[in-house]
Symmetry: C2
Subunit: 238 residues, 2 copies
DNA sequence: CAGGAAATTTGATTTTAATCACAGATTAAG
DNA sequence: CTTAATCTGTGATTAAAATCAAATTTCCTG
């Protein structure tokens, strides 16, 4: 057990998990180290909810390993996935800034290792390093752009367009280019994909089958997709 | 013509249109005045596009009078409205921050009076008044929350829920409470409402008619709606 | 305030995806 | 490696909203 703590701290001090976060990227090494020392580590098993909707959250959370999803539930009980977080992403900063409860829950999609910073440490660092507010502004701005794009995507009538956009997004983030095309390990099940784009599991299946018939993609098991014709997806997408 | 300029400047110096902007609200009067002096005024007729999508935009724009909409166009040529701006709202700050082209166009819904600040002035003020970065962060954070809610809304299966949410939002912003209910002057036509929630004009009509039959709302001409039973809308909404 | 333009409502039909039901495939655990 | 549990794909049916096509209402201009 002691070895676990050592390993975690070592990971942070060596790799400086803070270093992965764009918001902190302009800080000098000493500052990063000083942040790293205050970081609280937490391991979360796949499927666990580590931030609950409607509960006051006083930590900035960094995904050090694994993936997680942020989601809300609609009136009819269906899940709407808002964000997929991967290694290096951080979350919860807005709750600290606005001192509000988390508006959605965050659930581990795989086993996840978290690094967390208390509200106190976070605010202290903003004060000590005024230059990072500009970084935070940038980061929020990019997130805004992403959401605007997502809204446009969800407003689309055509389901092909919506699925294509999602696949292209995942390809960009998780894809590996090979001769045959781009191999993408999907962070979500079909059900998850459905929640992400706001349709049903069955419709996702049908449209993916159709794309496969047209030789645009190829399913490899449940978790992997090979994009054979990226161009075709781009044309559907816009 | 001279009188126009005087009037505009007077409006800014007297009322300090900058004062209406939450982001600047913490600044001392002198700072506000100094900003106001640099403001460029522009009058825009209803229907005119004053910020074009894909064009570099180097002004922070404040809506001093009137209303405007920000929209993008989907692959199939349909319009998706992202924001409705009213008096006191500001826009374009993100383009300045990220030095990017406007990702959407902004069009006047009514005759509009704008106050604009150049990128240069804007950046200078951020530097001189570091405290406003925190205000900007707050403002962006609130906008993020709004978009997240909008995504959840668009992911909803039920159209009642989507329309109800939109009506409640407009009521909150533009509504006037009376004995009979809340009178709301809609900023958008039925067509606009449709673009806002991602459905067709006809479906909007039908659902509004249905809500009227159920005595939940009442249409008064094309621009006004009386919400008789806010509670019912809230129940649809969530 | 009349008249025409624009926006809206309503009806009929078609298209699309949701729903329901189940078979088949993949994954994970022992 | 087997087996159960879970996830996924497909067919049939239903429900819902899009589309197409008027008819009506509202709004604005002269």
């Amino acid at each position: 057990m002691n070895s676990h703590c050592d390993r975690a701290c070592q990971r942070c001090l060596d790799n400086l998990c803070t270093h992965k976060i764009p918001v902190f990227s302009t800080l000098p090494y000493e500052a990063l180290e000083s942040i790293a020392r205050r970081i609280i580590h937490q391991d979360v098993p796949a499927g666990a909810v580590f931030i609950e909707a409607g509960v006051k959250n006083d930590r900035l959370t960094i995904i050090s390993e694994g993936q997680a999803k942020a989601c809300r539930y609609t009136a009819d009980g269906r899940e709407q996935i808002l964000y997929i977080y991967s290694e290096g992403d951080f979350l919860g900063e807005r709750d600290l800034i606005l001192a509000q409860e988390s508006p959605y829950q965050v659930e581990a999609l795989t086993d996840v290792k978290l690094c967390q910073l208390t509200a106190e440490s976070f605010h202290q660092f903003i004060q000590e390093h005024a230059e990072i507010s500009m970084q935070i502004i940038h980061s929020l701005s990019r997130r805004l752009s992403r959401l605007e794009q997502m809204i446009q995507n969800m407003g689309q009538r055509s389901i092909e367009a919506r699925i294509s956009t999602a696949l292209l997004d995942f390809a960009e983030q998780y894809g590996v280019q090979q001769k045959e095309g781009i191999y993408v390990r999907l962070p979500l099940s079909r059900e998850g994909l459905a929640s992400y784009i706001g349709i049903t599991r069955e419709t996702v299946s049908r449209k993916l089958s159709q794309l496969e018939t047209e030789n645009i993609i190829q399913s490899i098991g449940h978790k992997m997709i090979l994009i054979r014709n990226q161009q075709a997806l781009k044309e559907f997408s816009d």
